[in-house]
């Protein structure tokens, strides 16, 4: 009985529901099938790019923000005076501004930003922004350094808080000691170097917006007032005002878990606006509708998605989640990319890091003249013999060609292959002749015999032990140098090689990579100068030092190449070491995206974003 009653209740409810369904329910349209609405889904299109490290700070000049992961996003967002093209030439972007070397002695450069260039909040980009870059990275505004007692507590915390401390310094801008002058219209700034600086051209630009820094630090709402206050503070070196400015500059642009509520913390002065930021997942940039410069993009949205695992990136490419990837290259990655078949472009190219072998001059080992009673000639012969036996071509053929079929021996200590100086330098430095890629056993044997050194000569060889490629390189080198019983290359592979490099008493030769981040000629200074920071082997040649002194202050690019060629000729003659290959990189994209053409240094695949195009848009709308 009861059961029947409840069944009746259920039946009533069911019937009621059916009656209700006779009216058009509001939820029927819009969610069902593909006919009606779209549940609020976004209809835009974008290029998705796979990258390995997430964006995390808008200020890429600060000590924490200085990373490629930030630089690539900022490259899309902000315009600059110049950029690298495919052949690593510096090209100016005159739709943003111009710069001119006014005088060589003292080196004086005037930077002018065009009138119509604005930040995305409408505030003009002008000399105040450039003044802030100088004030922050020249180091001349800093008034305090943290001091510590024996227990490591900061003793002058109050002074540090009250003082001015910008946390990163650029060596080049430090040479501009006087506060740069701003022109009357406020669009130009003039930098006067106390001594000439070879790489002045890649040394300066606009960083973070000055009005944002000043308005947050000094609590001024109006953009122009904020800028004026900043200019006044820098000109008067007003520590009370600069102190909060430096604090905000150091930390104010760091992103947390989400896009900041305050839109002024991620303004654009260029082609793209930062639209969405999901921590550890992706950033989305959308074309800036107000951008009027030369680098106007054709792709509406660029999304950079983050994943560290190279194979995961390859599968994401295959699954259409990303359109372009540039993973760390290994034979497996390349093989699976090639297995994707048609519909994908694979570009193998050089990266910025290069592999090289150095020998030690000052450790009492086989390459040190002191071992032979100060006999320079004997030590030189031993060094030359050793370097003649480094099987450079063999290493490339066996380990690199599978990753980059066009890989060639790098024959220059200072210049990246493909950069303007490389051909000049490698043609005259004699490395290819002195240390042939195919090795020269006869010459090496003759050198050792002439020198009369007892064989086999022990060489302690340092390299990164867990790096499989370096293990294999070591094997090839040890085998080649051991021919005719000339050298006994001792395996000194160690995972702490980075620290061990500093102490040359522990090894006689080393194998590792140097990374180039720009074509700046002064970068190589520390590697070869007497007492240079990266000159671990104690190499010393007064002529090289003199040439570097000259190079430091040489602003003429042709003459720079000539000096580098002379430097390298000395390095080859002194048998400093050999360079082997440029690290192989790989970029892959599906054919819906066109115009991807990476270069070997930052911003790698992003350098020509305005030349990209995608066919996905048409497909989706058809």
């Amino acid at each position: 009985m009861k059961i029947r009653r409840i069944s009746a209740l259920a039946a009533t409810v069911a019937a009621g529901a059916l009656v209700l369904s006779a009216c058009t329910p509001p939820g029927d349209e819009g969610t069902d099938g593909d006919g009606g609405g779209n549940a609020g889904i976004d209809e835009g299109t974008s290029i998705n790019i796979g990258w390995n490290q997430p964006f995390y700070e808008y200020n890429s000049n600060s000590a924490t923000g200085n990373a490629t992961a930030n630089a690539i996003v900022l490259y899309l967002m902000n315009s600059s005076f110049n950029y690298y093209d495919k052949d690593l030439n510096l090209v100016t972007d005159e739709s943003f501004g111009t710069y001119e070397k006014v005088s060589d002695d003292p080196l004086t450069v005037t930077y002018t930003i065009n009138d119509d260039v604005t930040w995305s909040d409408g505030t003009p980009v002008d000399a105040a922004d450039m003044l802030l870059t100088w004030a922050a990275t020249s180091g001349h505004m800093n008034t305090v350094e943290a001091e510590e007692d024996e227990e490591g507590n900061v003793t002058n915390q109050d002074e540090v808080d009250a003082g001015v401390f910008f946390n990163n310094t650029s060596a080049g801008l430090a040479l501009v000691e006087e506060t740069p002058e701003i022109s009357e219209d406020g669009q130009s700034i003039t930098l006067v170097y106390t001594k000439p600086f070879a790489d002045w051209e890649v040394n300066f630009g606009v960083g973070v917006p000055a009005h944002v820094v000043a308005s947050h630090a000094l609590d001024i709402e109006d953009a122009q007032e904020a800028k004026d206050a900043l200019i006044a503070a820098v000109n008067d070196r007003d520590a009370a005002a600069l102190s909060p400015i430096s604090q905000f500059w150091n930390t104010g642009f760091q992103f947390g878990n989400a896009l900041p509520d305050d839109e002024s913390l991620y303004l654009s002065s260029g082609a793209y606006l930062l639209e969405e930021y999901v921590n550890e997942q992706y950033v989305t940039l959308v074309a800036n509708p107000d951008y009027t410069g030369d680098h106007a993009p054709t792709v509406e949205r660029v999304t950079i998605r983050y994943n560290e695992d190279p194979m995961a990136q390859v599968q994401a490419l295959e699954n259409g989640e990303v359109d372009v990837i540039s993973p760390q290259s290994t034979a497996d990655v390349l093989a699976s990319l090639e297995a994707l078949g048609d519909g994908y472009n694979i570009i193998t190219q050089d990266e910025g890091t290069y592999e090289h072998v150095d020998v030690m001059f000052d450790n009492g080992g086989p390459f040190d003249p002191a071992t032979y009673g100060g006999d320079e000639a004997t030590a030189l012969a031993v060094r030359q013999a050793f370097l003649k036996l480094i099987p450079r071509q063999d290493i490339i053929d066996r380990l690199i060609v599978s990753l980059n079929p066009e890989a060639e021996i790098r024959n220059s200590y200072t210049s990246i292959p493909g950069s303007p100086n490389y051909d000049v330098v490698s043609a005259v430095n004699g490395m290819a002749e002195q240390f042939p890629g195919a090795t020269d056993l006869d010459a090496a044997t003759a050198l050792i015999e002439e020198a009369g050194v007892e064989t086999p000569i022990d060489v302690r060889f340092l390299y990164g032990a867990s790096n499989v490629r370096r293990q294999q390189e070591y094997q090839l080198i040890a085998e080649s140098a051991g021919q005719n019983g000339l050298f006994n290359v001792i395996d000194g592979g160690d995972d702490n090689w980075g620290t061990l490099l500093e102490d040359s008493s522990g090894y006689d030769a080393s194998l590792f990579g140097w990374q180039s981040t720009s074509t700046a000629v002064s970068e190589s200074d520390a590697n070869y100068r007497t007492g240079g920071l990266n000159n671990f082997g104690g190499y010393s040649n007064a002529e090289v030092d003199a040439l570097f002194d000259e190079l430091q202050v040489e602003t003429d690019t042709t003459r720079q190449g000539e000096i580098l060629a002379e430097v390298e000729t000395h390095l080859v003659d002194d048998a400093f070491g050999v360079t082997i290959f440029q690290f192989p990189g790989v970029t892959a994209n599906n054919t819906e995206v066109e115009g991807i053409d990476p270069i070997s240094i930052s911003p790698t695949i992003f350098w020509n974003f305005w030349e990209w195009s995608t066919t996905a848009t048409e497909e989706a709308s058809s």
Partner: protein
């Protein structure tokens, strides 16, 4: 009891301190924060190195740095990840949520499936089904998770998306799948040859029928539960839950279950097109939980209305059935946005992703978000499940076998209880006791073991945080991860001991 807990907590804290000290030393040995600068060619390299040494206090002995760090922990400061200058607390917040999302679904599903299959396998000991399950579980158990993950991506995502572009299964394959399914069913149910043949035929026919229905109704293009599937599934749920909960002989419970199912079908329309429509803008997981509780309450109410001496059993059955049927309606609503989701530019006809925890530039309402996080959870959850499922199968099979050989089972049979009562009430419940100690520990292992899965699927969880920080030589986030994992391990141990004591009256924790 209290003294036991206090003692265990104190010992746990001691272990935590010692292990954090040892781990700090080990991590400090492993990482080299200056490594990237050693290779740098920057002109101000010396300044950068000095600056970093000062920033990270590398000039101090490691033991002093440990005590400064642990002092910070006691005052609630977890430190900062120095590369990005982000507080570790912030980093953990996002990471923990993501990991819990991933691990909870995988744990619940693998326990349910693993225990069910393990019990059936134990009841059919030394049968073909038992051997098959043993083989499969050992196979799964020995699979490396990174490999499973890559295979899942290749077939579960890339392959399945390719299939969806033209979703048609050849009839030969449909029939083949049906025969395999029928074969498995008869293995699982067992019995004499005739019974096996009948069960096998039913299983095969049901599978072929279901696949044919999906295929012919265009289900792959617009997946939905709809009134038909909802009605069939609800009735099946009603019978299954009743059978397990009270046995089909309890007519009141069965009617309660069926009423709940019928009510669910009747409410499908108004809930889907009125309630959810108006709620769309206000939806969140709290509302979902409330609605779920409401449904369970209605089910319990129906059970109570049927009255009778054993109304509690009816209420329990009704609650479970109503909750599950409501769940189906919820899933149907989520599926209803499939069309626009599938056709959107951001998805572009490839809905099963291989990386990340959401689709960029998708937009959409709350339901789209749920669907999107579901498609992103699918493969990593499967990867974790496959492996821990195998373990649970083995555990539950072993403990069920042990229980079924006990004297009290023989007594229960001897006094004439039905086989269902013997198995479910006397056997199954007792076989869960050892599992209660394994599950908490397993959850911890899963959080740790999710490192590989998270990395390969690009989910921003704890494991990913740990790996990235280790890569970047950031000791504080690494230590925070290790501290949390060791803390959870200790807590899980204590909980396991307590649960054991509560479940098994033979155990006393009085110290």
């Amino acid at each position: 009891m209290l003294t036991f807990i206090i003692r265990r907590v104190l010992i746990g804290l001691g272990i935590l301190l010692v292990s954090s000290f040892l781990l700090y030393l080990l991590v400090d040995l492993t990482i080299d924060p200056l490594e990237d600068l050693a290779q740098s060619t920057a002109t101000n390299k010396e300044f950068l190195i000095a600056q970093r040494i000062e920033q990270l206090e590398l000039d101090k002995p490691v033991i002093q740095r440990y005590f400064e760090w642990i002092g910070g922990i006691f005052t609630g400061d977890l430190g900062t990840a120095w590369r990005t200058n982000r507080p570790v607390g912030d980093l953990l917040q996002g990471a923990i949520i993501s990991t819990v999302q991933l691990v909870s679904a995988a744990t619940v599903l693998s326990i349910l499936l693993g225990v069910a299959v393990g019990i059936v396998s134990a009841l059919r000991q030394y049968s073909g089904f038992d051997y098959l399950i043993t083989f499969v579980s050992f196979l799964l158990f020995s699979l490396p998770s990174f490999w499973v993950a890559v295979l899942l991506k290749q077939w579960g995502a890339i392959g399945f998306n390719d299939f969806l572009a033209n979703p048609w299964i050849a009839w030969g394959i449909v029939i083949g799948l049906g025969i395999i399914a029928g074969f498995l069913w008869q293995l699982a149910i067992g019995g004499a040859l005739k019974r096996r043949l009948i069960n096998g035929a039913i299983g095969a026919a049901a599978t072929i029928g279901a696949l044919a229905f999906l295929q012919l109704s265009g289900w792959w293009e617009t997946p939905n539960i709809g009134p038909v599937i909802l009605a069939v599934t609800s009735v099946v749920i009603a019978f299954a839950v009743t059978a397990l909960s009270t046995g089909l002989k309890n007519r009141r419970a069965l009617y309660t279950a069926l009423t709940c199912a019928a009510l669910g079908v009747a409410l499908w329309y108004p809930v889907r097109f009125y309630l959810f429509y108006y709620l769309t803008d206000y939806m969140n997981w709290g509302v979902v939980a409330l609605l779920g509780l409401l449904a369970a309450g209605v089910g319990i109410g129906i059970g109570v209305l049927y009255r009778g001496p054993d109304w509690k059993q009816s209420a329990r059955t009704g609650g479970i059935v109503a909750f599950l049927v409501a769940g189906l309606i919820f899933i149907d609503q989520v599926m209803s946005v499939w069309g626009p989701y599938y056709n959107s530019n951001a998805i572009n006809g490839r809905p099963i992703p291989t990386i990340g925890d959401r689709t960029p530039n998708l937009g959409g309402n709350w339901w789209v978000g749920v669907l999107d996080s579901y498609t992103h959870l699918l493969l990593p959850t499967l990867a974790l499940m496959l492996i821990s499922f195998a373990g649970y199968t083995r555990y539950s099979r072993g403990s069920m076998l042990e229980v079924m050989n006990q004297d009290y089972i023989r007594t229960a049979r001897a006094k004439g209880l039905t086989e269902r009562t013997v198995v479910v009430r006397h056997g199954f419940r007792n076989s869960l006791i050892p599992l209660a100690t394994i599950v908490p520990l397993d959850v911890i292992t899963l959080i740790g073991g999710a490192i590989i899965t998270e990395r390969i699927f690009g989910r921003p969880g704890m494991g990913q945080l740990f790996l990235q920080s280790l890569d970047g030589a950031e000791i504080e986030p690494v230590m925070a991860y290790l501290l949390i994992v060791s803390f959870l391990a200790i807590v899980a141990n204590i909980i396991a001991d307590l649960i054991y004591a509560v479940l098994d009256p033979r155990i006393r924790v009085n110290a």
